[in-house]
Structure formats: C-alpha cells, structure tokens
Symmetry: C2
Subunit: 142 residues, 2 copies
DNA sequence: CTATTAATGCAAATGATTTGCATTTGCATA
DNA sequence: TATGCAAATGCAAATCATTTGCATTAATAG
C-alpha cells in the first residue's frame, strides 16, 4: 500500500485506484493519455474501470496535481504531473513520440498581450507537430 | 450562382454547397466551426447536410483553401481561409470570443528547434485562453 | 445524349469523454 | 467496535464532434 505525499490530497478519502494512477504517472517521462494510464494500471494487476480513470484524472486536475500537457491531433488529451516543470512538446505525427521543448515563448508574451488587450489570460496551448528524425528516415526508403 | 475565384478548385466539379460554404467563410471575420458554417448556410435558405459540410471542409483543407485556425477547449475545430494572414487567437473561455494575436512567436523558433533536433516541423498550435474584458467585468458584479 | 464518377443526404458508426445509477468502501462519529 | 453518510467505483448508456457506408443525384467529359 503506497503512501502518497500529495499535500493537496489531504481532504480526500484514500483510494487504491488513485494511488495506482499517480504511481503510473510518477514513473513516466512523458505525458500519458487516459487510455494509456488505464492500460498500465490494469497491466500491473489491478482491476480498474476506464470511467474511474477519467474521474480520477478529473479530480487530480481540479486539485492541480496534474495538468493537461498536450492534445494529439486526434484530440486525445495527455496529462502530466504539475510538479514536473512547465514545458511544451514537439509531437511526431507518425509515431506520436513527444519531445519536450525547453523554451516557452509564451509566458513573456502573455503579459504584453494581456496589458494591451485587457484580456485576462489563464492558459495557453503551444504544440509543434511534425516528423521526428526516425520517421523521416523510414520514409526516405519507401 | 456565384462564381468562385479559387485557382485551386480548378480540377473540381462545380458545387453550389461548396460555394455557399466559401461564401460564408469569405464574409466572416473570425474562424468558424463546422456547425456554425452549417447553420449559416442553412439560414440563407439552402438545404445542406452536416456531413456534406464536413466533406467540403475536408476537401478545402486538402486543397489548402482553408486551414484549421484553432481548437476550442471542448475540442471543436475552427476554420478560416488560408488567404487570410496567419495568426493565432486569444479565446475567451466564457463567451468564446476570439481575438486575433498579431504576433506569431513560433515561426522563428521552429527553425531553431528544427535545426537542433532534426525534427521536421510541419505545423504548430498556439492559443491563449482566458477571459475577455467584457466577461471579466460581468463577473465582478456577481 | 450518355456514361462516369464526384457530390450529396441520411443514418449508423466511431472514439474520446461524460454521466446515471446502483453498489462498495473509507472514515468520522456515536 | 458498530453505523451512517458521502466519496469512490463499475457498468452501461449517453454525449458530442467527426467519419463513414451506401444509395441517390448531378456535373461534365466525350
């Protein structure tokens, strides 16, 4: 029975399923879809239902323990722990590999734009799509 | 019967529906969803089916007469004419109003990132979300 | 004018996500 | 420790944007 160390979960009732989801997300180096999390939790043994994963994700989002990290071109959402540093991704449209981009060109822009428009910016989306080196090479052969 | 002036449609068979869709998009100052286009075309008179609009959008995308301009937080896609200049939007999460941003911080970045990673960047997504001045004021009263 | 095939309409399928509802379970408290 | 309530869960059904199968209509090449 793992003990989680999330201050933000203080008010919450204990839940094995939620712990499993968090465990999966802790031990991952890139954002995951709900379906992937579901698969990984089940693979470990635990029976869990897909809708439960969705509800856990929803709760973790509200508690800001996780954030939506990116959206694939097919609109599948990917999530990552908030404690991981903020960054954006380059997403290969072929193999779906995600490469973190260490630059966030947006934060400084937000202020400028916010000031000049009176728009209260609460979030932003920034993703690059393309082909990773691997997939580009594969295609050369065809 | 309007005559369209799209070189790119040369190979295509004439279609009143497609003309209507293009007409709607021409006379619009912000990106539209498929549902909105559908509504506007029908409002004018013409009977058209939603799936036809989807197919027309698909074709216009392929011909690069339109592009996907943004995606709302609920994943609805919005489209605009390619001939309109490339820009991004600030989207009010309350009233859905879209305010174009005249800066695209990404194009110059793309080269840098492309060079350093070997990633062949073909597209990007950049959107700001927040509350517009109007909606922020309304909320103050509550 | 006629054959070919793109364009269309309609209903059903998809796929991610959400929700209703009955059941289980954590946990505070009697 | 027993009891009750609310949160967590499972399952199936509902949603919602988008796609697709299939039969029909219509544009246009020859």
């Amino acid at each position: 029975m793992m003990k989680n160390h999330y201050e933000k979960l203080k008010g919450c009732r204990a839940s094995k399923n939620r712990d499993e989801v968090l465990f999966v997300m802790e031990n991952q180096n890139c954002p995951l879809s709900v379906e992937e999390i579901y698969g990984k939790v089940k693979a470990k043994n635990s029976s869990i239902s897909l809708s439960t994963v969705y509800r856990i994700i929803d709760k973790l989002l509200n508690l800001e323990i996780i954030r939506k990290a990116a959206t694939l071109e097919d609109n599948t959402s990917l999530y990552e722990l908030t404690k991981d540093s903020h960054h954006h991704y380059m997403i290969c449209t072929k193999c779906k590999k995600m490469i973190p981009i260490d630059i966030c060109p947006i934060e400084e822009l937000e202020h400028k734009i916010s000031d000049s428009t009176g728009f209260n910016i609460t979030g932003h989306k920034f993703e690059l799509y393309g082909e990773c080196k691997n997939c580009a090479q594969k295609q050369d052969r065809s």
